[in-house]
């Protein structure tokens, strides 16, 4: 049985886009976090996390997002959450993951467009 895809990443000059699939819980975090730390460029200033295909998010998933936030913050950048809906959106709201350094967009395209507009390579 093939392993389900957990994420995909697109790196552009202006931003990086990480799209998660299915569950983002402790199990997923353990599997994907080392790979993502490696694949997200060190100097990334705009990181989009796309939650459109995420069915379930837990506090470990939020913790991973916080680590991404710290990373882009150290580059004087920002973290963007795209398509926060349903259970993942409720969890983000519940833990207060909505500080001034996090931006939210209804869909991925709007998030990407905004990153291009900011144009902070």
């Amino acid at each position: 049985m093939p392993t389900a895809q957990l994420f995909e990443i697109q790196n552009n000059p202006q931003y990086s886009l990480v799209r998660f699939f299915g569950y983002v819980d402790a199990d997923t975090v353990e599997k994907v976090k080392p790979a993502l730390q490696e694949q997200i460029p060190a100097g990334c200033k705009q990181l989009i996390i796309d939650l459109e295909k995420v069915e379930f998010l837990d506090s470990h998933g939020v913790g991973m997002f916080v680590s991404f936030l710290k990373r882009v913050h150290s580059n004087n950048g920002r973290l963007i959450i795209a398509t926060p809906e349903g259970q993942p959106a409720s969890v983000l709201q519940m833990v207060g993951f909505n500080g001034p350094l996090v931006s939210f967009f209804e869909n991925t395209q709007a998030a990407c467009d905004n990153c291009l507009m900011h144009n902070q390579p």
């Binding site: 402790a26 349903g86 259970q87 519940m94």
Partner: protein, 525 residues
């Protein structure tokens, strides 16, 4: 999946019976949680538990099992998850044989406070307990030391869990309740039939039956025949007027009498309408709809007026000036009626002590607690001749540990002691840091301290001193300030703060604030 012993039981039974779900983990690992989650979801949906609530239970299950895998010194060999559902009542009991958690309740309170009272997005761990605490009416942890079966138990209970209706029809509980009383069984049946698709109609054959039922059920409308044996419609109305809430329920007479014999008597009863038999269905429906809508409007208007009066009564306030160099400004924007923010201040010959506090929660209940808490803080103020922020918090913390009422609340506080020369001593108890704005920069003042009553150390409160020069502003805010800026996701906190200050008219340069925010500024001499 090899090390998991799955004993999921899925059953669909009538809604008033209790249904059970059991799932057992052996030497569990993270990858065992998703299958358990999927099995629990199937069970909950099959038993008509609303998806939004099912998601909450799935998150709680995930957080607890993850904690049990990650944290205990001695790992659990067996974890048992049991869920019982009976209509709106849900119980989740997760038992395990790991080494127990110490100070579980303190950890929960601190985790909860961190998501509420401080700048978010700074910690990578510790959100799980906060999620569990926020989601459920009751969360208990019983360590194996105290449990009968020598296992640790997480027990979650919710008594108002939402359920999906079995049919697409509006749930009867959501429909307006109409009491219909008539001694003529045929007329009673016909009139009930006219309304039963739209309303939850309860039929009665006598006025006495209505009065008895009224003790248990509060209807939205009463439709009564006028002439009935033993007690007639007028007698029923008079009896209702003497009962609690009886005067607030719309009342209609539906009678076969059309002469003027009863009119003087009826006019004194303050009824809402008088309908004559026979009546057509459309007419009856129209009258009932109009009266219920009007009744809702009146209730909303009265409630709204009460809300605004209570909110105004408890509005946080400070004097305009203190001494020769300090000006104060309070800005308070209520997101809803009620709210739990308040300010206290105490003046001496040499200092002024002010406290900004936020009782967690929303609405009138939080306001009630805030009011009670404010009274308690005032009494602590009075305990010392010369109020000092550090002593104040240590006293409060000590009182909280000994008082179950105070202990049951989560409150963040911050106090400032102001001196004439511009010196400010700040002490915080789980509160967002204050912001100092000078002529060139705007930054946090690094100050922190545990919530009252939650410290594990002695003397945990340290005073941080800053000195304000002319034109400097110090802003203390409750976490509502941060929430307000979150409405504008694109706005940097400090940039928004600066922009807000720039909008102020030049004659009032010291006012700065947003939601429940207070600004203190050294007055320009």
């Amino acid at each position: 999946m090899q090390n998991i012993q799955q004993q999921d039981t899925l059953s669909s039974v009538p809604s008033n019976e209790v249904v059970h779900f059991d799932h057992q983990f052996s030497n569990a690992a993270y990858h065992d949680i998703a299958p358990a989650r999927e099995a629990l979801l199937a069970f909950l949906l099959k038993n008509d538990v609303a998806r939004s609530y099912a998601d909450m239970l799935l998150l709680t299950l995930t957080e607890i099992i993850t904690n049990l895998i990650k944290h205990p010194l001695q790992k659990a060999k067996n974890i048992q998850c049991h869920v019982s559902v009976q209509r709106h009542e849900v119980l989740m009991d997760i038992s395990d044989d790991s080494s127990p958690f110490l100070d579980f309740q303190d950890k929960c309170n601190i985790a909860l406070a961190r998501t509420k009272g401080c700048l978010p997005c700074t910690h990578e761990n510790g959100y799980g307990l906060a999620c569990i605490m926020q989601q459920h009416a009751s969360v208990q942890y019983i360590s194996m030391t105290y449990s009968k079966d020598s296992k640790n138990h997480f027990i979650i209970t919710d008594s108002h869990a939402p359920v999906c209706p079995a049919t697409p029809q509006k749930h009867p509980a959501e429909r307006k309740v109409v009491f219909m009383v008539d001694d003529d069984p045929v007329a009673l049946k016909i009139h009930c039939k006219m309304l039963e698709k739209e309303y939850n109609v309860i039929a009665f054959r006598s006025a006495h039956d209505v009065l008895e039922a009224f003790q248990k059920i509060l209807p939205d409308l009463i439709i009564s025949d006028l002439t009935m044996p033993e007690m007639d419609g007028a007698g029923l109305r008079r009896a209702m007027m003497d009962m609690e809430y009886g005067n607030e329920i719309p009342f209609i007479f539906l009678s076969g009498f059309t002469d003027n014999q009863h009119k003087p008597q009826i006019n004194q009863l303050g009824i809402d309408d008088f309908l004559c038999k026979p009546i057509e269905k459309d007419h009856l429906l129209a009258v009932v709809e109009r009266l219920l809508k009007r009744s809702s409007q009146i209730r909303s208007a009265v409630q709204g007026k009460m809300d605004s009066e209570i909110t105004e009564l408890f509005k946080p306030a400070l004097p305009d000036n203190w001494g020769n160099h300090w000006r104060f400004s309070v800005q308070n924007v209520m997101a809803e009626a009620g709210g739990g923010d308040f300010i206290l201040q105490e003046e001496t010959d040499t200092h002024m002590l002010a406290v900004l506090a936020d009782v967690m929660g929303h609405g009138h209940m939080a306001k009630f607690f805030a009011f009670a808490y404010a009274g308690y803080l005032r009494s602590i103020f009075r305990m010392h001749d010369k109020p000092d922020p550090t002593v104040f918090f240590e006293t409060l913390s000590s009182c909280t540990e000994k008082d179950s009422f105070l202990e049951s609340m989560i409150v963040t506080c911050q106090s400032v002691k102001l001196a004439e020369d511009g010196t400010v001593d700040i002490v915080s108890a789980g509160h967002p840091p204050p912001i100092l704005m000078t002529s060139t920069e705007c930054h946090d003042v690094a100050v922190s301290g545990p919530l009252p009553g939650l410290s594990l150390q002695e003397n945990p409160y340290k005073s941080t001193q800053v000195k304000l020069a002319e034109g400097h502003k110090l802003l203390l805010a409750t976490d509502g300030f941060y929430d307000a800026f979150n409405n504008d996701k694109e706005q940097s906190f400090y940039r928004a703060f600066m922009m807000f200050c720039n909008y102020l008219p030049p004659t009032w340069p010291h006012i700065c604030g947003w939601n429940s925010a207070r600004a203190l500024k050294k007055k320009t001499v």
